[in-house]
Symmetry: C2
Subunit: 524 residues, 2 copies
């Protein structure tokens, strides 16, 4: 399962965290200067700086902008709009535009996934998403997963090729956002949510140390960089803010997820889970946050089953199995003849098989059965049965078991009981497309009151939108990054014990799944 | 007369202004970090930034430096030297060097003249000049004077060619400073004294408005720029500080002159004069400063007399005329056969002619004479007499008259009498090479007690050295720039009156030249 590139939901309406006021990365100010005269021998640039400094304190004007300034001043008859960027060291003038363009102010919220890249065009005057564009990350040609790409980066020109690939993807998507609602203005800011490796590759930083003990990245918080420095096709001096990461395995996308969930401001304890190729789990509240991460395997990316596929046209995305007859009802994306099964279809299938008693609590087929036909041959595109086999289920259970084991260990580690969890935040594709009831039935989601299960959608993209728009959110993100304690799973022997014992449906401890128990009882 | 490129005196020992403590544009700090460990998942760059921020507040680390950081950290076993640049918005990390290089710290003080460029290598640990290199400005090929270059800048690719020319000059000179005393370090900072047009051309800014009413430059104070932004071949992120200018006609070289003189801190009134192709005159004290500027003509550059030449090999640089016999004693630069006369030789010749009564107070030859042979044909390189003619003298008197008229007008304007002038500061070549007694005799210098006549040498270069080394001096220079009132000569009808009436030796008002009057009386 990947993001459906046609429908990148940016913000679930369940999200509590809201923006109280807009303090975007860049501001626009209308300036009206008097004509130059012999009575005032200040240069054009000195006059503008001194005028801005009355309101903004020290203002830096980069050399690359200077040649443009006298031209715009004169062609606009000394009425023009200054675009200012706020840095941790004061303000920088990044552009000037003829006339009053203060109401035409645009920025980008960017989510760089290992697989999919989404770029949202944001109206910085009201925070709204005007357009978006999404596509696969061109880096896929150099490796599907992060480890392969890190290895590729150390080959000759590998790092440069990876950087070029993601920039090509981004610039292709940015081109699709044009023309802007106003042609007088340029896109003047960007914020990015991405994992630590994606940020390294975007910035041209060697990611080798990320996957080599002691697993220390080159940088967690790169600070503001300019679009021109990395080659992003927006206003050259536009500030680019990367959501800070916490280490090699907890990236800005996860910090972003926490930020969007608001769990870092709640008194009650929440659990945040994002499962993609990698899985990240965060537990905590306003006082403490603890997190772990690890490879989750491609279970939810459609990669572990024989007929697994991404959430594309022809993928079986919803399945229901009649508990009495075992008959299957299914739908496919785009109502096309079935090609395979994507993550949500697989979760539905497993839940249906379990509730129908076709597989037992240890996820094994009963009565010597070896596979289950989800779509019969005459309805598929290939003319072959689309099935889920015992091996497919075993592979999927490894992922689920890892998630359960990691969550349990994290909770045990901080001495937290399941009854203390007030909210479960599901991020990314894991939170956006999985059928809730089926996900609870097979133990991928916890069995909480359904109102406590919050699906954050593309929280990495939404976090990028929030930090693009709000200084407060940027400070919050940095505060989260400081606060999270990383819990190392790989070095933990208890993890393997838990992992081995957690391959049950919905969970080793059925007491934690009362609604599933009830359904199982009703079935009998 | 131009700077003798063989001997650019940087600082006269008469200069009062001294540096009390070193606060150079860049600082070096030795850092020793612990090895990275799983207990600390901060990135290399985050750890360095946080360590520096304990002492320096907010520290910016530019993206272009980031790839180098993990390499140097590891190759130096986590003991390295951070190079920091101070900006008006906080500190920036501009380089890191393996091991302890804190005692190997270099900067450049640069004087970009319209004609000559001088680059001084400064030891930033003690402020000393280690080496220097000087050469003609390659821009001369595109025009000898400022106006021609401004016109050239508006031709196709003109501005880019002028910028390339001065950079080629600078980078050629920088190359001559290598190898550095230590090969482990790069030159990490530069400060520049230059007129407003030279700064515009260096920065690639269109100088057209400088010579077009209302004569407003693009910028007076460009702030810190980086070496890479303009293409200076030193450490790419090295800060480059340009002494601020006050307008199109009063550049950072003049601000630098005032700074080096110290007149802006004295209670008594001083007069500062710098005469090259352009002339600048500043009058004032710690409470006020008023200045005027104008084209002085090439009189002192050796360009108005038939046999005028720059102060190069073979130039007659000293002349004395026996008052009784009219016989001439002279010397040439390098003791070569005479090729022509440079500025100091011409000033000596005129003083000698005047004191001998060969020319009268209105600078006219007596008894129908039309020229004076300084070097007879058999002693010259060409085999022709080297002479000073009535036309040569008339041309020279125009420059001298303009300087006198401008000075008088400036003083009248602020109601200042000659007796109030405590010091006369002579800057540049005008202050460095002219023979004092001869310059007073013909009224180019005022007739003050000789201890009150202070020759500043290359005050533009010395000012660059001071602001390179001292934050206090940078603030002082900016304070001077704010304080100076520009007095417009060109729009002033009184100037022409004064100019017409001031072509006398030593001055229209002989009372102001008591020592010259005495010499004339002794002669009779």
């Amino acid at each position: 399962m990947t993001y459906n590139t046609q429908k990148p939901v940016i913000l679930s309406d369940q999200v509590k965290s809201t923006l109280h006021s807009l303090e975007p990365l860049t501001r626009k100010v209308l300036l009206t200067l008097s004509q130059p005269s012999p009575q005032d021998n200040r240069g054009d640039i000195d006059r503008i700086r001194q005028l801005l400094e009355r309101s903004y304190g020290s203002v830096r004007i980069p050399l690359s902008l200077m040649p443009k300034i006298p031209q715009v001043c004169r062609s606009s008859n000394w009425k023009f709009t200054a675009v200012l960027s706020e840095t941790c060291q004061g303000w920088t003038l990044i552009d000037i535009e003829s006339g009053d363009t203060t109401q035409e102010h645009f920025g980008l919220a960017i989510d760089i996934g290992t697989t999919t890249v989404v770029v949202y065009l944001i109206d910085l005057t009201d925070g709204k998403v005007l357009k978006y564009a999404a596509d696969y990350n061109d880096q896929i040609a150099m490796g599907e997963d992060i480890l392969t790409r890190i290895r590729y980066a150390s080959s000759p020109d590998g790092l440069a090729s990876l950087q070029e690939a993601v920039l090509a993807t981004l610039n292709r998507l940015i081109k699709r956002l044009y023309p802007l609602p106003s042609e007088a203005s340029m896109i003047s800011a960007a914020a990015i949510g991405a994992n630590t490796t994606m940020i390294h590759l975007l910035l041209g930083l060697d990611p080798a140390s990320i996957c080599r003990a002691p697993y220390i990245p080159v940088v967690n918080n790169p600070g503001l960089i300019t679009a021109a420095e990395i080659g992003l096709d927006i206003s050259p001096l536009a500030p680019v803010y990367c959501l800070p990461s916490i280490g090699s395995f907890l990236g800005g996308d996860v910090i972003g997820g926490i930020l969007v969930s608001g769990m870092h401001q709640e008194s009650d304890i929440s659990l945040f889970v994002d499962i993609g190729t990698n899985g990240e789990i965060v537990l905590g509240n306003k006082d403490w946050l603890v997190a772990c991460a690890g490879a989750a395997g491609p279970a939810l990316e459609g990669g572990v089953t024989t007929y697994g596929m991404r959430a594309e046209q022809g993928a079986v995305d919803h399945v229901s199995i009649n508990q009495k007859t075992g008959w299957v009802d299914y739908s496919t994306i785009g109502n096309m003849p079935a090609l395979g099964i994507c993550g949500s279809g697989l979760v539905d299938t497993l839940a249906g098989l379990f509730l129908s008693g076709i597989i037992d609590r240890s996820a094994r087929f009963q009565n010597g059965q070896q596979e289950f036909v989800v779509v019969p041959a005459h309805e598929t595109a290939s003319g072959e049965d689309i099935v889920v086999s015992q091996v497919d289920i075993k592979n999927f259970m490894a992922t689920k078991g890892a998630v359960n084991a990691a969550t349990d260990l994290l909770m045990e580690n901080v001495g937290c009981d399941w009854r203390e969890i007030s909210h479960f935040y599901a991020a990314g594709a894991f939170g956006q497309y999985l059928p809730i009831e089926s996900a609870v039935t097979i133990g991928l989601y916890p069995d909480l009151p359904r109102t406590a299960i919050v699906r954050l959608g593309n929280s990495s993209g939404e976090a990028a939108r929030q930090v693009l728009l709000s200084r407060t959110k940027r400070l919050e993100a940095e505060e989260i990054a400081r606060k999270v304690t990383y819990f190392e799973l790989n070095a933990n022997a208890a993890f393997m014990d838990k992992f081995v014992s957690s391959k049950f449906l919905p969970h080793t401890d059925l007491d934690r799944y009362p609604s599933v128990r009830e359904r199982l009882q009703n079935r009998i």
